[in-house]
């Protein structure tokens, strides 16, 4: 092995880091006594396993094909975003929010922007609110498409994956149209959005709205009555509504267990109260119910996008409180005050009042909350991300008691974890 910048190869042992070993004694309290005596088998699954949707590691205790205990091990994608955000000003910290849940980038921007707006008490113009809703719902569809594709792939439905990614591409094209970026958009900013959408935006969204309902029908035709799919999902990975609440599960997983809890309906934000939509729920709480809820959610999201697009008013897309929001480029050239604001905001940032707020949005995976504390300075004193996948994943040991190893893959898929969201 030759490292970069070295001419002589080093012996292999020297290049290897010290390996930290964990013995069975450290994990005794997690597995049954039969595992210690060797009667049941301990099996490591992941982190490099295609069905774990990233870098999730599971320690499995198996009795033949039956899962006795399932112990998730997370942290392989920990990036220290909470710590990093403490060192950046409020505007600059936002760039990191995209990297948390990389399938719901617009939603992360919204959660963070709403927390900052709540902290400094900023108003957001109506057009910006409509744009936020449209993009978040499109992002929700994109995220559910990835989930549908990969979860179906896990139970060996290969073709769905290809179709889902085809449609997701259209949504990413729309995001690229408005922000210049396909995934890491940073489009929603505190006080509004980055800038107004181009004229092609409306046509692109309308085309998508026209095409998509038929495509959702196609996915359902492929899966909903497919006996192979039903065999793999029906009655698998059950969790009751009370258990789901107790482990803090939110989002489609909770709604598939019969609890009607959607922040868009229960605690409306960004003008969701203006739109008519249903919150799909199922009582069964199994993998199939979670599939049905998510597919139905895609249809509801399309309805919201259509209404928001119809109702979208004209006007500014950014708050004009220039103590917090940078003035537009056109003003900087002619107004001394605008120039001063611009300079102050991009060098020093704005000072938020001392206090703490919690603000949450409904991400495709559940309640995405931001806890923001300010000590009166230009940088957040503490940012905590209450990410939905972290709590949803805790339901995994409950769902997997006594299932077959093969069903485990279907269950991981149905929780819809994003490891960037779990590990932060």
């Amino acid at each position: 092995m030759v490292a970069l910048g070295e001419d002589k190869p080093r012996p292999y042992e020297e290049c290897m880091p010290d390996i930290f070993e964990i013995s069975i004694d450290d994990l005794k309290h997690l597995v049954s006594e039969r595992a210690v005596s060797g009667e049941t088998m301990l099996l490591n699954m992941g982190p490099q396993h295609p069905s774990t949707h990233g870098v999730l590691r599971l320690l499995l205790e198996l009795d033949g094909e039956i899962v006795v205990n399932c112990i998730p091990d997370i942290g392989f994608l920990h990036t220290g975003i909470e710590k990093n955000m403490e060192a950046k000003t409020y505007q600059k910290a936002e760039v990191m929010t995209d990297r948390l849940d990389y399938l719901n980038t617009v939603g992360n921007n919204l959660a963070y922007s709403m927390a900052v707006e709540k902290l400094v008490d900023l108003d957001v113009p109506a057009r910006a609110q409509s744009l936020r809703v449209i993009l978040c719902e499109l992002q929700r569809i994109a995220s559910h498409l990835i989930w549908l594709g990969t979860a179906a792939l896990d139970v060996a439905a290969m073709s769905t994956f290809l179709y889902c990614f085809r449609e997701r591409e259209d949504i990413l094209d729309i995001l690229e149209l408005v922000s210049g970026q396909r995934m890491m958009t940073t489009y929603i900013r505190p006080g509004g959005v980055w800038r107004d959408v181009p004229v092609e935006f409306e046509k692109a969204v309308r085309d998508f709205l026209k095409m998509m309902p038929k495509r959702v029908d196609q996915y359902e035709a492929l899966l909903t009555r497919n006996p192979l799919f039903l065999d793999r999902t029906l009655g698998i990975g059950k969790i009751s509504g009370a258990d789901a609440l107790n482990v803090g599960m939110t989002g489609p997983g909770l709604r598939a267990s019969g609890v009607n809890w959607d922040l868009r309906k229960a605690r409306p934000y960004a003008g969701y109260e203006q739109y008519e939509f249903e919150v799909p729920t199922r009582a069964e709480g199994d993998v199939y119910a979670r599939y049905l809820v998510r597919v139905q959610e895609m249809r509801e999201s399309l309805k919201i996008v259509e209404q928001a697009l119809d109702k979208m008013p004209l006007g500014p897309v950014r708050s004009n409180n220039h103590k917090f929001i940078p003035p537009p480029r056109s003003e900087i050239g002619v107004s001394m005050e605008a120039l001063i604001h611009h300079f102050k905001l991009w060098t020093e940032g704005f000072n938020a009042p001392k206090g703490f707020v919690y603000s949450a949005v409904e991400s495709p995976r559940g309640e995405l909350g931001v806890y923001l504390e300010s000590d009166g300075g230009p940088k957040p004193y503490r940012v905590h991300w209450r990410t939905p996948s972290f709590d949803n994943l805790q339901a995994m040991p409950l769902m997997t008691k006594g299932v077959f190893v093969a069903d485990l893959v279907a269950i991981i898929g149905s929780i819809d974890i994003v490891l960037g969201d779990v590990d932060r």
Binding site: F20, G75, A266, G355, V357, A360, E367, Y371, R386, Q394
Partner: protein, 169 residues
């Protein structure tokens, strides 16, 4: 304050001898750490089925209290939210575990131990959760420096390589 939340907060205020603070619509109560298990049991009985979030803030170099542990409860049936803050001193910081009351406190308290070094007493499985098992220090504490990496280019590769703690064998 929400009309439905008012009687609940008044009841808690009376039981635990505290006053609620409201900031931008978020209601928070400061609870002593000896009483947090009783308080959690009580809010669960009052209809807060879910513990939405749990984390901490480090006020270093303040020592007593150095940390505030945050709890956030949600009632899905009544559509309410309520927060707790628990002051914890900097020397030997511990809190009693609430993982038997709310199950997701299990991982959240592990995260608290991992990131802040606040031990949850009576926790069934207190290991590090996000950082590697052999990591030293607790990254989200304020006296833990935010590190950075020097980018190496061809012309200064050797020079930086000598300084890097992990690049040397």
């Amino acid at each position: 304050m929400d009309k439905k939340l008012q009687p609940i907060v008044e009841k808690l205020e009376k039981t635990f001898g505290v006053t609620a603070a409201e900031y931008r619509g978020d209601v928070t109560l400061v609870i002593a750490r000896e009483k947090i298990v009783a308080a959690c049991e009580q809010v669960k009985g009052l209809g807060f089925e879910m513990m939405s979030a749990m984390s901490a803030v480090d006020y270093w170099p303040e020592e007593n209290p150095r940390f505030h542990v945050l709890y956030l409860f949600t009632s899905t049936s009544k559509n309410l939210r309520l927060g707790f803050r628990v002051p914890v001193p900097g020397v030997n910081p511990t809190i009693p575990t609430v993982s038997h009351v709310y199950q997701n406190a299990n991982w959240r308290e592990r995260e608290l131990w991992d990131m802040f070094g606040i031990k949850a007493e009576g926790h069934p499985d207190l290991r590090r959760i996000l950082m590697p098992a052999d990591w030293e220090g607790h990254p989200l504490r304020k006296d833990y420096p935010l590190g950075y990496e020097e980018p190496q280019f061809t012309f200064n590769f050797q020079e930086i390589d000598l300084r890097k703690p992990y690049a040397k064998e």
